[in-house]
Assembly symmetry: D2
Homo-oligomer: 149 residues x 4
Amino acid sequence: MARFEPRDPNFEERVRESFARQTLMGTIGARLSLVSPGEVEIELPYRKDLSQQHGYLHAGVVTAIVDTACGYSALTLMQAGAEVLTIEYKINFVSPAVGERLIARGRVTRPGRTVTVCAGEVFAASEGGEKLVASMLATMISLRGEPPI
Amino acid sequence: MARFEPRDPNFEERVRESFARQTLMGTIGARLSLVSPGEVEIELPYRKDLSQQHGYLHAGVVTAIVDTACGYSALTLMQAGAEVLTIEYKINFVSPAVGERLIARGRVTRPGRTVTVCAGEVFAASEGGEKLVASMLATMISLRGEPPI
Amino acid sequence: MARFEPRDPNFEERVRESFARQTLMGTIGARLSLVSPGEVEIELPYRKDLSQQHGYLHAGVVTAIVDTACGYSALTLMQAGAEVLTIEYKINFVSPAVGERLIARGRVTRPGRTVTVCAGEVFAASEGGEKLVASMLATMISLRGEPPI
Amino acid sequence: MARFEPRDPNFEERVRESFARQTLMGTIGARLSLVSPGEVEIELPYRKDLSQQHGYLHAGVVTAIVDTACGYSALTLMQAGAEVLTIEYKINFVSPAVGERLIARGRVTRPGRTVTVCAGEVFAASEGGEKLVASMLATMISLRGEPPI
């Protein structure tokens, strides 16, 4: 993985402050477990009230945490004062979201002044180790004052 | 839009029963507002505890309802006893998810024995009308007994 | 479909001039068959030397013409002097690319100052009519002098 | 990267034979440079007649070689007699496709009996090294006799 130099030394504080303003992450019980330059990790303990019809965590929940991890991985490399917005993403679901908790990892593939491309994975973690649940490829945009879309 | 003939006359009952088993839809307050052959609609009233950092409904929530609408639109055309699973989707976010409520519409683009392709849109509805929030292109798979992935 | 008002009355000339600079479209024998505000159509007669291993037109060729149709549909709505670049796309292949010719249709879903979202379809045309081959959802960016990525 | 055990010891011969039947790869001058279990690499020397309007290699060409690399990476892990078909993919373009040649690398993220998920990258190679041009996330399907879509 490429190593990145953050433009804003307060990147972690900025990410944690923005995460705290997201009510959804708190509502579902997700927490930021890692914030480093170009990489962010989010953990979500399993909860029965977030399931789809087979009892697995719902694809929308899996998507929400890895979208958030990708978006904040992009934000770690943006300049002070910038905000991040998701333009789009694509996600493949490869195994059921079961286990004690999910771990979503987002990382920057290609940082840019305006557009940043990120990749993310979600793993189901239990005593037996980690298993890949989903892979994401996402496009983020940096906002400075005015919305671009 | 193409007109489809359902293979199972009880398609609506089957979709509503599966929807009821999804705890996430109930947890966020979403409801099925239309179930017809090849097309499903889901409504979600705005709720402050489902927001991202700017106060809009979180992309993950927008995604969850349109994924669900697309998946069930595919299920309406599957044979009795089949279940539907999301293989993957891609979604573009084109305007903020604000307003009184969101309406997600999923429809089948191409039904298939194994793989069904769906398109979906999310609109923000208020007194002033509807505004496009997001567009999805999704791939669903029909399960009959054993998981394909 | 939404109706769009072009900002540049010379949009068609601009699109045709840019298309002519693309060597790939000429190399594979594709031609612009429609240029209207927010919508562009490209036709490609079948050619045996553009096939994949089963003799159908290769997915990359199908993708190339609908990417081009989407990109130019975005360009029709951009200001004079702007250029268009593909940020990303997703495409689903739903039936084999056979028949006498392919028709790719790209249209703008959501125009924007910087980012434009487009949808596209490819149809296989023969005497029996048109059959859907592929669906695309694409993100285009407007360039004015400096590359954004 | 995960290590995979091929089910068919003749996987390389099968991939090379299928590649040879693709007329498009020959038409654009692409060649198979690596075939190993779960990973395939394709090289394409720059050619002026495959460009988009700015003189870079066209997005459709970039897509064609990495789609092919991903598809064949999936085929290396399929059983004897199986064929591979692309269901869908998403690709992000992150820098211009310039340089002496492109290298497309496809690898399996999650093999499956029916559905295989792959990731791919395209690099522009020149004396100065390699630069990332595009990232792909793709879904492949294994065919045994009858088409699934």
